[in-house]
Symmetry: C2
Subunit: 423 residues, 2 copies
């Protein structure tokens, strides 16, 4: 490789992380997917990870698809839902092709409410769905009547409460800025992927005054507050959509070797690289090493699933584990491991984040801007904090843990890069 | 000292920390001082620290006394307030003699609302006032009309909102348990004396559902939520009253050398020892080393003031600095210093707290149960995180910092102990 190309890459990568750090995503509103997400249409289901057809989908994703079909009323029972899913009538597309991200199976159907995030700096919109809570929930592949009931309540009550709240917010300002919330949460023991206790608290503190001044009936107000309050993952989908905005800001820069998507659909893991458009580099998704809910073990686990690794792509989550020593009781490992892991991630990233600081490392910025070249050179792969789904449809979450993205993905991407740029 | 006395002391100290850790303070309600605090009466003002007469009071305490006199309507202007304060008409008594604690000047007047904490384990009640926010506030010695106006709003609106909220709480449970909030906050970057961002968030999350279901008009609800939400010290007075309950549970144990009160009135610093009843050991209060608000420096600073060192007495605050690396930007020092300081406090304490864990030290319990003997033996004195008041009345807060309690206090206490127990 000539030194001028090396310089070009360096400049491109610098620009990428600069844009990632300048990105300023604010939560602006709530909409209905089909009316809000670009190119979303009837009989389309968005999903986590790279493209996949029904036949190859993992158990939890199939479960979530069945649930979404029942929720949409496209079928009235499980058998019929199976048939429709298999009939070709439904178009399956990755969230990432719609500036969207969603945790675990990540199924978004046309009538689901979605969070609207706007990057004030670069004018891009991104989206996510509303978090349903823990345990037996659609995103982990559960689809029993109570799961569907919660989704309906989210559509009819929670999303309307939040819609009215966000209208109040918009009277006063452009929206709820998410980066300062992530930054503060990192000083409060969160890494903002698998621990969001502080981020959820801060979001609630931020929006509650607007909830109180909005015109919302007392029951909806109470139920909506309690639903979000009882779920420390309430903030997850917001920070994911914000991370999607940050990484989109770094995407599509010529010569850039920075990773802008890390994602998995429960069957395959995949990445995008900034300088390689929307080309998917794909490898089998690994099974996370986990801390298991009682009665479950690794043999029950589905391979890694979800768009949530967008948090690590944007420089937090697993990359900020040193900020969250309590996370180790949830995903396994020791405090020393958490620090060591963050330290290792500096070896495969472009810079230290100027927004996201780790108090325990004397307020050093988090490792940010994953560089494909550095991964291939060092053999160190990105560590992701993740939830773990049962491999069968209909069960739900069985644990949480850590997973390393497969090295071969990054090797394939570097090969693709060499071909594309004729190096 | 005979070995049997040593054993007796060891048993007494073990019992003291066991009781301190078993204490289970819950926030149970809000009352008016004169109707709530035992032996509180008209023309009595409670104050922080050991007993002190008007003439010897420091600037900020005098300022707070003037403010309280104006608030009570005992005088209509500053001059008249001065005269009354000096007339002997007002009885000044330490909060600690009334199972009460309050930050900084700690002035509590008869018509002020107070928080009621009940120790579910030992049946003791403790009290504190409601936090007024930062800057120009009574507890820092300010008494301008806006300060008094806020106190009146606290009495007429906030305390009623909280009263109605606590009535809702009491329909469902005995109260809001404070220890789990402190324990969680220590995993979220608080040390719960000078950083209470997480504790305040958690308290708000805990009470908001009850606020929403109580019968409170919309304006009071909004104003009260926002007032507490805008002040990350909202939780301080609650955790202080809880700490008072914990330390009272350890008080009055024969032979016990554990410190149960550390406090200062801005002129003197003082301690109680469990085995020595309510005997005050007193020495001049030191001036904290601080981080100064713009325009101020050490020469403006009043000597250390407030009952808030009850947090360190109960095993958190400065003793848990290693849990709160972000605190160093507020009180000065480095992360390494914060860890080193917590480590040092183990040398002067009886045990590791079974409730309060420090995630970053692999979830080791905080140093708990300050032992007078160990302080005198090692020369290490308790480190307190504290706010700093201007030395003149009427100004307010000018910084925050660290202060070490004077060694001579503990030497005097050990001497008193030897006399009392004939050792």
């Amino acid at each position: 490789m000539s030194s001028s190309i090396k310089e070009q890459i360096e400049l491109a990568n610098q620009l990428a992380v600069q844009r990632m750090m300048e990105s300023d995503p604010v939560w602006e509103g709530v909409g209905i997917a089909r009316e809000t997400i670009p190119n979303m249409r009837e009989f389309m289901l968005l999903h986590a990870g790279p493209p996949i057809e029904w036949a190859r989908m993992s158990g939890p994703m199939k479960g979530a698809v069945i649930g979404a079909i029942l929720y949409e009323g496209w079928a009235t029972d499980e058998d019929e839902a199976h048939k429709i899913a298999d009939s070709g009538k439904i178009t399956f597309e990755p969230n990432h092709l719609h500036s969207c991200v969603a945790p675990m199976a990540g199924i978004i159907s046309p009538s689901m409410p979605v969070l609207i995030i706007r990057d004030r700096k670069f004018g891009i919109n991104t989206y996510s769905n509303l978090n349903e809570g823990l345990g037996k929930v659609l995103r982990y592949g559960a689809y029993s009547p109570d799961v569907i009931h919660t989704l309906i309540w989210i559509r009819d009550t929670l999303s309307r409460t939040l819609g009215a709240t966000m209208s109040e917010v918009k009277e006063k300002k452009t929206g709820v800025a998410i980066k300062p919330i992530i930054a503060q949460a990192l000083t409060m023991g969160d890494e903002c992927h698998n621990r969001l206790n502080a981020a959820t608290s801060l979001i609630l503190r931020e929006i509650t005054p607007y909830m109180l001044s909005a015109s919302i009936d007392k029951v909806s107000l109470y139920e909506s507050y309690e639903f979000m309050n009882q779920n420390n993952f309430t903030a997850l989908n917001l920070v994911m959509a914000a991370a999607k905005a940050m990484t989109l800001a770094a995407h599509n820069i010529d010569y850039c070797t920075v990773v802008t998507v890390l994602t998995r659909n429960g069957t395959d893991a995949a990445i995008w690289v900034s300088g390689l458009d929307q080309e998917w580099f794909v490898a089998p998704a690994p099974v996370p090493k986990g801390v298991w809910f009682p009665g479950y073990s690794e043999k029950d686990a589905n391979p890694d699933i979800g768009d949530s690794a967008i948090t690590e792509t944007a420089g937090f989550g697993g990359f900020a584990m040193a900020a969250a020593p309590s996370i180790v009781s949830w995903v396994g490992g020791s405090v020393a491991y958490a620090i060591e892991n963050t330290q290792k991630m500096y070896e495969i990233t472009q810079t230290r984040n100027s927004n996201f600081l780790i108090p325990f490392l004397d307020s050093q910025g988090t490792p940010t801007g994953i560089d494909v070249r550095k991964i291939v050179r060092t053999g160190i792969t990105p560590t992701i904090n993740t939830g773990i789904a049962h491999k069968n449809p209909g069960v739900g979450q069985i644990g949480a843990g850590l997973v390393a993205f497969p090295l071969e993905l990054f090797k394939a991407a570097l090969k693709g890069y060499a071909q594309r740029y004729g190096i």
